[in-house]
């Protein structure tokens, strides 16, 4: 039997969806069952605060949200927020989230994790989730170090960095996650800094409202193991793209800005496009009938007969 092609053009839908109505939620509604076990002063606290605040401002209710992580200090986040959470294997959060999103496209899915989890061991899923434009909001707490394993280089560690695995200093070039995301096809690419929570809230909100793959790479300093990229380091260097007159629809400018790393390090929204459908919008079987996960099972006798007829 033949299968008709999908008309991609016809499937582009407008983004900036309205938050669901209903009683107002508060930050308290998102309090998780456990308290964070992060080191005092860890940047990840800033992401947790910003995420909860973004969910409150969008009036999303805990059961409408799924938070999916991998493994690492930052990947403990789902335990600290009351949503449907999945604390999956190291590097696999985006793959699990892809399945969950396609199975229930009514859920708002936030994926959280660290730079090692997402850009290192999970690198393959990272690239392919972006090219597929899966409707996910991916927040990477980027501390440029492996913290939970007590301090080894990560894919974003800068050249020359001395760690337990590079006592003579790293000789490798780091990944530029923002550049990579733009090139790989993510449709919302931003960078935040946990020292600027209010700004981060806006970036996360924008990512959740965006229909498609949103990356928010958040500088989240590790106060214990990364003594190079500290709050002191970022505080004076980070500059908001909004204040630089950057146009996030300008691809060339976005790429150029994404490689800037020096006395000025840009944060904010680098790149956004709304003219591409997300993967769930491209899938004809999701056109009607609601989330796949809630559809009744079973095959009609007519369809069953047609399947058997093919074999005769």
């Amino acid at each position: 039997m033949s299968v008709d092609p999908v008309d991609i053009e016809a499937r582009i839908s407008k983004t900036g969806q309205q938050p669901p109505a209903g009683p107002r939620v508060t930050v308290k509604d998102f309090k998780g069952k456990a308290d964070p076990d992060w080191c005092p002063g860890c940047g990840d606290f800033g992401v947790l605060t910003a995420l909860k605040q973004a969910l409150v401002e969008l009036n999303l209710h805990p059961h409408q949200v799924m938070t999916i992580s991998g493994i690492g200090c930052s990947s403990n986040l789902p335990g600290y927020v009351s949503t449907y959470g999945m604390h999956t294997l190291h590097g696999r959060a985006l793959a699990v989230a892809t399945g969950a999103q396609l199975a229930n496209h009514d859920l708002k899915i936030i994926v959280t994790g660290g730079d090692g989890d997402g850009y290192g061991i999970g690198g393959n899923h990272f690239i392919h989730s972006m090219r597929r434009n899966v409707d996910l909001t991916y927040i990477v707490m980027n501390n440029q170090i492996y913290g939970l394993t007590t301090g080894q280089i990560s894919p974003t560690s800068t050249k020359g960095m001395k760690t337990k695995s590079t006592p003579a200093g790293s000789v490798e070039n780091p990944i530029f996650p923002v550049s990579l995301a733009i090139a790989a096809g993510a449709t919302y690419v931003a960078r935040g800094y946990t020292g600027q929570v209010k700004h981060l809230v806006d970036l996360i909100k924008g990512g959740i409202q965006h229909k498609g793959f949103a990356l928010i790479d958040a500088f989240s300093p590790c106060v214990t193991f990364n003594l190079d990229n500290t709050h002191e380091f970022f505080k004076h260097r980070t500059k908001k793209l909004e204040d630089m007159g950057h146009d996030p629809t300008n691809f060339a400018a976005a790429i150029q800005k994404s490689y800037e790393w020096g006395d000025e390090i840009p944060i904010g929204l680098f790149w956004k496009r709304e003219d591409l459908p997300s993967l769930d919008q491209l899938e004809p079987i999701l056109d009607e009938g609601g989330p796949l996960a809630r559809r009744p099972l079973g095959i009609s006798p007519e369809v069953a007969r047609s399947l058997v007829r093919e074999l005769m």
Partner: protein, 596 residues
């Protein structure tokens, strides 16, 4: 006794169009109500190499692709050179005499050359020899030309009248030429008046998934498992199944787990190498208590191995996949129809027990084809999703909070589907408490860890009584019991018939389907009555023999093993049984007679 038991071998290089005449013959056979078993020996090459398709048909049940050939159709000289010496008196060889020359041949073998140049002077291309040979075969087994004419007309419908007329004309020429020049078989192919269907194991597995209500299927292409993906991709939209090709097998199983946790019945299939990549995530499904089904279609390993050849070499891999102990169900279907019937059964079990389920198939089963009575393909199967909150309509009030991993006597705790108000929780691959909070990092807790571990593993005890115990097949008081698992059932049972009819040896068979958990008591009770135990398996080290010994203490008296990539033929097992009974060896490894 069977009136007809006919085997046809078609061989050539990849790209010579062996599949089409094979399919046409298979359809003709099953439409006459004849049984069918087909096996295609092929290589990992798109053009060239040597492919050999064996089609066997009979009015009686066909258990394997058999031992002998009645008709050989070599499409090139290489096939002629490889196979002619195995042809026995009474058989015939059909070939294009313009290009292919026979060699030495046993007396009584009828050589049937035809000339493509003479029969189809105006048609270019090699494929025409297939049409002529096909028509000649049908003439020699007494099938009326009209049937072939109708099939060709349908096949070339889109290409227009001229092409139809051309092909029907060539077929007619071949049909008449065979009638005039070759001696037909003594029988005419019977028509039982009933119509059968035929399918390959991968289709059966995919259709079993569809019957089970699979809503999510994903895979990374890998021989010999890709047939499941292809069926799903062709039918996904019609059936409301999300079908996705993922970047690698680690991704595949994790995507499936995500979909399963969200509430879909989710399935994936791969071969040994891909399965190895899935190992860690299978353990995570057990830890998070998410039901998911993974099919491992075994091929000859290790590593890349022989991608297009069969083996039963992954038993220990699937039993040991992933770190730590965790509950899992492993099932090895015993024939192609069983592939279809097993998948819905397995889904009900994994949903009830919230753990991963693994189907262990192999190339022989998954790419082999067999006839099936359409009445057996019942899609209206029982579906039991187990204890799920939020799946249908009403959601019970949360009294005193919801503990996803509540300790229970059965080890089963009610799942709540994401999206259900009031039941938010975290599922974790870290060890966790009843409420989902981690007990792995900040505060480990040996007592809770033990309790949670026992809760999960307790499920295995409750699963076993739900699995159909293996049953002895054949005479109870036999000289020898042949113990096998999974795909070898058909060939073992045919070997049993041969042993009884030709060698006067009474054998019976115990075929194991449910591998984990294993019905140890039932197996011990049956096997311990036997005087001579022989274990038959398609691997080097006797993976099942060692498993059986570890679980039951049963030590077999003899072993028949094959690990050359090709499946057992009945006579391999017959020869093995004879050698072991004669005391010449305890381990018999047959030599495959032909390079295919």
């Amino acid at each position: 006794m069977a009136k007809v038991d006919l085997s046809i071998g078609i061989g050539g290089a990849a790209g010579q169009g062996i599949a089409t005449p094979g399919d046409i013959l298979a359809r003709i056979f099953v439409r006459r109500g004849l049984h069918l078993n087909a096996y295609n020996a092929y290589q990992s090459i798109i053009r060239g190499g040597h492919i050999f398709l064996t089609l066997r048909t009979s009015d009686a049940q066909v258990l394997s692709f058999g031992d002998k050939l009645d008709i050989l159709i070599p499409l090139n000289q290489d096939t002629m050179n490889r196979h002619l010496r195995l042809m026995k008196s009474g058989s015939l060889v059909l070939y294009n005499g313009d290009k292919i020359k026979p060699g030495e041949v046993e007396a009584g073998v009828q050589l049937c050359p035809f000339s493509v140049k003479e029969l189809a002077p105006n048609i270019r291309g090699d494929l025409v020899q297939n049409t002529i040979a096909l028509a000649a075969v049908l003439r020699l087994i007494g099938v009326e030309f009209k049937i072939l004419e109708d099939i060709l007309t349908l096949q070339f419908k889109r290409k227009g009248e001229t092409v139809i007329a051309e092909n029907v004309g060539v077929a007619r020429a071949g049909y008449d030429y065979a009638g005039a020049h070759f001696k037909p078989f003594a029988f005419s192919l019977p028509d039982t008046g009933k119509k059968l269907a035929f399918f390959e194991g991968n289709q059966a597995l995919a259709m079993g998934g569809a019957a089970a209500g699979v809503r999510f299927y994903c895979a990374y292409p890998m021989s010999p498992a890709s047939g499941v993906l292809h069926w799903m991709a062709r039918h996904g939209r019609q059936l409301g199944i999300m079908v996705r090709q993922i970047e690698d097998e680690i991704g595949v199983i994790n995507v499936a787990i995500g979909a399963a946790h969200a509430g879909c019945r989710a399935m994936c299939a791969t071969s040994g190498g891909g399965f190895a990549l899935m190992s860690e995530a299978l353990g995570s499904a057990a830890m998070m208590e998410i039901p998911v089904v993974c099919i491992n279609v075994q091929r000859a390993g290790p590593a890349t191995g022989v991608p297009t050849k069969t083996e039963q070499g992954d038993l220990w891999q699937v039993m040991g996949a992933g770190q730590g102990d965790y509950p899992r169900i492993i099932v090895a279907p015993t024939d192609i129809l069983d592939c279809f019937k097993t998948v819905p059964e397995l889904f009900n079990l994994v949903d009830k027990f919230q753990c991963p389920g693994i189907v262990i198939s192999d190339l022989l089963l998954s790419e082999g084809r067999s006839s099936v009575d359409p009445a057996e393909l019942d899609f209206n199967v029982p579906i039991d999703r187990g204890e799920v909150i939020g799946l249908n309509g009403s959601v019970p009030p949360v009294n005193g909070g919801y503990n996803r991993y509540q300790l229970t006597d059965t080890g089963i705790s009610p799942r709540a589907l994401p999206g259900t108000a009031g039941y938010t929780h975290v599922v974790a691959t870290d060890e966790h408490d009843e409420d989902g909070v981690l007990i792995s990092d900040e505060f480990t807790n040996p007592h809770k860890r033990q309790a949670m571990h026992e809760k999960r593993m307790r499920k295995m005890e409750a699963i076993l009584p739900l699995l159909e115990p293996p049953r002895l097949f054949g005479p109870e008081d036999a000289q020898v019991i042949l113990v096998g698992w999974g795909s070898t059932e058909g060939v073992i049972r045919e070997a049993m018939q041969k042993l009884a009819n030709e060698e006067g040896v009474a054998a019976n068979n115990l075929q194991i389907k449910w591998m984990v958990p294993l019905h140890c008591e039932v197996i011990t009770a049956i096997v311990s009555k036997s005087r001579k135990i022989i274990i038959v398996e398609n691997n080097y080290s006797g993976q099942f023999a060692r498993y059986l010994r570890s679980e039951t203490g049963i030590v077999a008296h003899g072993h028949i093993r094959k690990y050359d990539g090709e499946p057992f033929m009945p006579h391999h097992i017959v020869d093995g049984v004879k050698a072991i009974l004669a005391g010449t060896t305890e381990k018999y490894v047959p030599v495959h007679e032909i390079m295919v």
